[in-house]
C-alpha cells in the first residue's frame, strides 16, 4: 500500500487534487489550471517548463479553426445589442404559442442547427446563450432550466457533425473519420430530441419553470404573420446561411463564422440599428468573452500537456489492465471510466488516454468499434457538463447576467447529464441508431 503512495508515477494524480482545490477556493479557472501546470510541470520538465508552457499558448494562438470563436461571439453580441435577438424570440414565442417551455424548445432547436455548422462548443454556446438568456429570463423561465438547456444544447456541437472531436478521435482509434461522422448524426439528434422531451415534460408538470404564452397575448394570424416575417425570418435566415454555407461547401467553418458576423452587421443595417456605438460595444464584449473562453482553453491545454507528459496515460493503463472482466462489464467499466475522467480532465486528455487502450480491447471482445465510439463520444460531450472541469459552465458563466449564480448552473446541468446517460442506454439497446447511416452512405460504391 505504501508502494502506491511513494511510487512517483502516481504523483501525477495529485494534479487533480491541486486544481480542484484551487478551483473551489475561487481562483479563476484559467489561472488555477496554468499555475498547477507550472508547479507540476516543473517536476516533470525542469527548467524547460517555461518553454513548454508558452508553446501550449502558441498552439492555441495560431489555431485557425479557433478563429471562429471571436467571430461567432461578435455575431451573437451584435444581434443581442441591436434588439434583433429579443424580437426573434418574441416571434418564436408566438409560434410555439401556449406550449409550456416552448421557448426553451426553440432554443434547443437553434442549438441543434448551430451544432450542425460548427464543431467548436464555446462558440455555439456563447452565440445562442447571448441571444436566448435575456429573453428566457424576462419570460420567467426557471434559471437552472435555462442554464442546463444552454450548456447541454451548446455541447451538441461536439457530437453533431462537423466535429473537431471526431476528426481527432478517428485516427486515434484507427477508424474512418467519415464513418464516425455519419454514425454520430442520429445519436446527436436523439440527444437533442431527449432534451426537448424533457423540457416539455418538466414544464408541463411545473408551468412555473417554463410558461407558455397566456391566451390573451397570442396574436391573431393577421397580426402574427407580419411579425413572423419581419422578426423571425431574417435572423433565422442568417443562422441558416452560416450553416448552409458550410454544408454546401462554400466556406470552411472559420470563414462561415466571418460571413455570419458580416451578415449580422448587414442585418443591423436593414433594421436601422447600425450605429458606431453599437458596433463598438459589440467589439468590447467580444474581446472580453473571447479572452475569457480562450484563456480557459489555454490553461486546459497546459494542464493536459503536463498530465500526459508526466505519464498520466501509463498510470491509467496499468490501473485498467489490473482488472479482468466479462465483455459487457468491460464496456460498462470503460464508459464509466470515461465518465469519471470527464469530471476532472478536458476532452483531449480523456480521448488520448483511453481511446488507444479501449478500442483494441472492445474490438477483440467482438463489439462493433464504431458503435462503441459513438457511446464514447457522448461521454466526451458529457464531460463538457460535469463539474468541476466543465467548459460549458465556464463559458456560460462569462455571458450570464449577475442574477444567475453558479449554483443555478450546477443544478441545471444535472438533469441533462442524466439525459446523456439515457441516450447511451438507448444506443446500447438500439445500435442501429448509430450504425444505420454510415452503412447506408458508405456501404455502397460511387455511382
Amino acid at each position: 500500500m505504501l508502494d502506491f503512495l511513494i511510487n512517483w508515477e502516481y504523483f501525477v494524480l495529485l494534479m487533480f487534487l491541486g486544481v480542484i482545490g484551487a478551483l473551489f477556493i475561487g481562483i479563476p479557472v484559467a489561472f488555477a489550471l496554468m499555475s498547477m501546470s507550472l508547479l507540476f510541470g516543473y517536476v516533470g520538465f525542469g527548467d524547460a517548463v517555461g518553454a513548454m508552457l508558452i508553446r501550449r499558448v502558441w498552439d492555441i494562438a495560431n489555431n485557425y479553426v479557433l478563429g471562429a470563436v471571436p467571430l461567432f461571439v461578435f455575431m451573437g453580441a451584435l444581434l443581442e445589442r441591436s434588439g434583433i435577438a429579443a424580437k426573434l424570440f418574441e416571434a418564436m414565442m408566438q409560434l410555439t404559442g401556449r406550449l409550456r417551455g416552448g421557448l426553451a424548445v426553440g432554443t434547443v432547436m437553434m442549438c441543434t442547427i448551430f451544432a450542425a455548422s460548427t464543431g467548436i462548443i464555446g462558440a455555439s454556446e456563447v452565440v445562442i446563450g447571448l441571444l436566448a438568456i435575456p429573453v428566457l429570463l424576462s419570460k420567467g423561465f426557471n434559471k437552472s432550466l435555462i442554464c442546463g438547456t444552454i450548456c447541454a444544447g451548446g455541447s451538441l456541437g461536439t457530437i453533431i457533425p462537423p466535429s473537431v472531436v471526431i476528426v481527432v478521435y478517428g485516427p486515434a482509434a484507427g477508424l474512418s473519420v467519415g464513418r464516425l461522422l455519419a454514425a454520430a448524426v442520429f445519436p446527436g439528434l436523439l440527444l437533442s430530441l431527449l432534451y426537448i422531451v424533457y423540457i416539455i415534460i418538466r414544464c408541463g408538470i411545473r408551468p412555473q419553470d417554463g410558461p407558455g404564452l397566456p391566451r390573451d397575448e397570442i396574436m391573431p394570424w393577421k397580426r402574427k404573420l407580419p411579425l413572423l416575417l419581419g422578426a423571425l425570418l431574417p435572423p433565422l435566415a442568417l443562422i441558416f446561411a452560416v450553416t448552409g454555407t458550410i454544408l454546401l461547401g462554400w466556406a470552411a467553418p472559420t470563414e462561415a463564422a466571418a460571413l455570419g458576423a458580416f451578415g449580422a452587421v448587414i442585418l443591423c443595417g436593414i433594421y436601422r440599428k447600425l450605429t458606431f456605438k453599437g458596433l463598438y460595444e459589440a467589439c468590447i464584449s467580444t474581446i472580453k468573452i473571447s479572452a475569457m473562453i480562450m484563456l480557459v482553453l489555454t490553461g486546459g491545454t497546459m494542464y493536459t500537456g503536463v498530465f500526459l507528459g508526466l505519464g498520466g496515460a501509463d498510470v491509467s493503463e496499468s490501473l485498467i489492465q489490473a482488472m479482468n472482466l466479462s465483455p459487457w462489464a468491460t464496456v460498462a467499466l470503460f464508459l464509466f471510466l470515461a465518465f469519471l475522467a470527464g469530471f476532472v480532465l478536458d476532452w483531449i486528455s480523456v480521448l488520448l488516454i483511453f481511446v488507444p487502450i479501449f478500442i483494441p480491447i472492445v474490438t477483440k471482445l467482438g463489439f462493433n468499434p464504431i458503435w462503441f465510439s459513438t457511446l464514447f463520444l457522448i461521454m466526451i460531450q458529457t464531460s463538457y457538463l460535469t463539474p468541476p472541469m466543465a467548459p460549458a459552465i465556464f463559458y456560460l458563466k462569462g455571458i450570464v447576467p449577475p442574477e444567475i449564480e453558479m449554483n443555478d448552473m450546477f443544478r441545471g446541468v444535472v438533469p441533462y447529464i442524466v439525459l446523456q446517460l439515457i441516450g447511451i442506454g438507448l444506443l446500447i439497446t438500439f445500435p442501429e441508431i448509430a450504425l444505420w447511416l454510415p452503412e447506408y452512405l458508405m456501404g455502397g460504391g460511387f455511382k
Binding site: F45, G46, D47, A48, A51, M52, R55, W58, D59, N63, Y64, V65, P161, P162, V164, V167, V168, G170, P171, A172, A173, G174, L175, S176, V177, G178, R179, L181, I246, L247, L248, G249, W250, A251, A252, P253, T304, G305, V306, L308, G309, G311, D314, I348, L352, V355, P356, M442, G444, G445, F446, K447
Partner: protein, 329 residues
C-alpha cells in the same frame, strides 16, 4: 552495480494511431527498448500534447523533451533545406533515396546540417514511398485539367502548384476531411494509399490520382537534444543509430504492405484510379527542380544538399535500366 537506465519523452508530429505514429515513432521506441535490454525507454506522445505538432525540432532543442519524430519539411519556415531532405516534387523516388541516404552522403549531411543549424542530433528514421497525388472530385488527367482546380496542400508543393494553373487552398490538417467532403476544395494530397484509407478520403471523393508527382518519396527523422545525446553511453548511441536505420527500412515495407490493402479497398469502393499522363509527371518534376534551384541561390546548406542529391540521382540513372523489365510493366 546495475547499469544506468534512461527514460525519455518522445514528442511527435502525429496523432495516435496513424501509421507514422505506430510504424515509425512507436516502432523506433520498441526497437530501442529491445536492443538496449530496457536501458533506454521512450514514452511516445502524440503531436500537440506537450509540444506543437509542427515544432518538434524547436521543442527538442529547448529541452522540453529528449527526442522527437517528425517530417523534416515541417521546419521549412526556419530553413528551406529541410524541404528537400523530406522529399519534394523534384526529388528521388524511395529506392534511390534510400541508397543516397545510406550509401551516399545522406545521413552524414543530414547530421551535420541539423547540428549546425538547429543544434540537435538528427538522423533519418522512417521513409514513405510515393504518395497519392490527389483525392479529388475532379478527374485530373492532364495539365489542362489543373486550370481552376482548388487544391489543398502545404510546403514546397504549395509554392509550385499555382504554376500549373491550380489554386492553392490553405487549411489546417483537421479541416481537410470536412472540406473535401463538402467540396470546399476540389482535391487534396495527403499521404500514401495505405495511410489515406484510415482518413477516409476515398469515401467522400471519387477520383484517386496517382502517382504522387509532388512527393515521390518522403524520409522522416528523429531529432535528439544535444546534451541528452552526449549524456548517453557510446553503446546506446550506436543502438539509436542502428534502430533508426532499421526503422527506415521496416517502415518502408510495412507502408508498402498497407498500400496493397488500400488498393483493394479503393477497388471495392468503386473509386476511379487515374494515372497522371507522362507529360504532367514530367512537368511536375521540372517545376520541382526549378523551385529547388531558385531556393538554393540563397542558402549554402540547401546548395550543398541539393548538389549531393543531384549527383547521386545522375549516377542512379545508369542503374535504373538494369532493373527494368518491359514484360513486368
Amino acid at each position: 552495480a546495475a547499469e544506468k537506465t534512461f527514460k525519455w519523452r518522445m514528442t511527435t508530429s502525429w496523432p495516435t494511431g496513424v501509421p507514422l505514429y505506430t510504424e515509425m515513432a512507436e516502432l523506433f521506441a520498441k526497437k530501442v527498448d529491445m536492443l538496449s535490454n530496457g536501458r533506454l525507454k521512450m514514452q511516445v506522445l502524440p503531436g500537440g500534447t506537450i509540444a506543437p505538432a509542427l515544432e518538434v525540432t524547436d521543442s527538442v532543442a529547448k529541452g522540453i523533451c529528449e527526442i522527437g519524430h517528425l517530417w523534416p519539411g515541417y521546419d521549412i519556415g526556419r530553413d528551406a533545406t529541410t524541404a528537400i531532405l523530406g522529399g519534394w516534387a523534384g526529388g528521388m523516388e524511395s529506392v534511390p533515396m534510400l541508397h543516397w541516404l545510406y550509401t551516399g552522403d545522406g545521413v552524414k549531411l543530414w547530421r551535420e546540417f541539423r547540428m549546425e543549424k538547429f543544434g540537435v542530433v538528427g538522423m533519418p528514421c522512417g521513409i514513405r514511398p510515393t504518395e497519392v497525388f490527389l483525392h479529388s472530385h475532379k478527374a485530373i488527367r492532364t495539365l489542362e485539367d489543373f486550370k481552376g482546380a482548388k487544391i489543398r496542400t502545404v510546403g514546397a508543393w504549395a509554392d509550385i502548384l499555382p504554376k500549373l494553373g491550380a489554386s492553392v487552398v490553405t487549411l489546417p490538417g483537421n479541416e481537410v476531411f470536412p472540406a473535401l467532403e463538402r467540396k470546399v476544395i476540389d482535391g487534396t494530397e495527403w499521404a500514401t494509399p495505405g495511410e489515406n484509407v484510415i482518413s477516409g478520403f476515398h469515401e467522400v471523393a471519387k477520383y484517386i490520382v496517382i502517382p504522387g508527382a509532388h512527393q515521390p518519396s518522403a524520409p522522416f527523422e528523429i531529432v535528439i537534444n544535444k546534451s541528452k545525446w552526449e549524456a548517453l553511453p557510446k553503446d546506446l548511441q550506436t543502438i539509436i543509430e542502428q534502430a533508426a536505420m532499421l526503422v527506415t527500412f521496416e517502415s518502408w515495407v510495412r507502408i508498402g504492405k498497407l498500400d496493397m490493402g488500400a488498393m483493394e479497398v479503393f477497388k471495392k469502393k468503386g473509386n476511379e484510379i487515374i494515372q497522371l499522363d507522362s507529360a504532367t509527371q514530367t512537368a511536375c518534376l521540372k517545376l520541382g527542380k526549378e523551385w529547388a534551384q531558385e531556393k538554393a541561390g540563397k542558402n549554402e546548406w540547401f546548395k550543398k544538399v541539393l548538389a549531393s542529391m543531384n549527383a547521386f540521382e545522375d549516377g542512379w540513372a545508369a542503374v535504373a535500366p538494369t532493373r527494368y523489365f518491359e514484360y513486368k510493366k
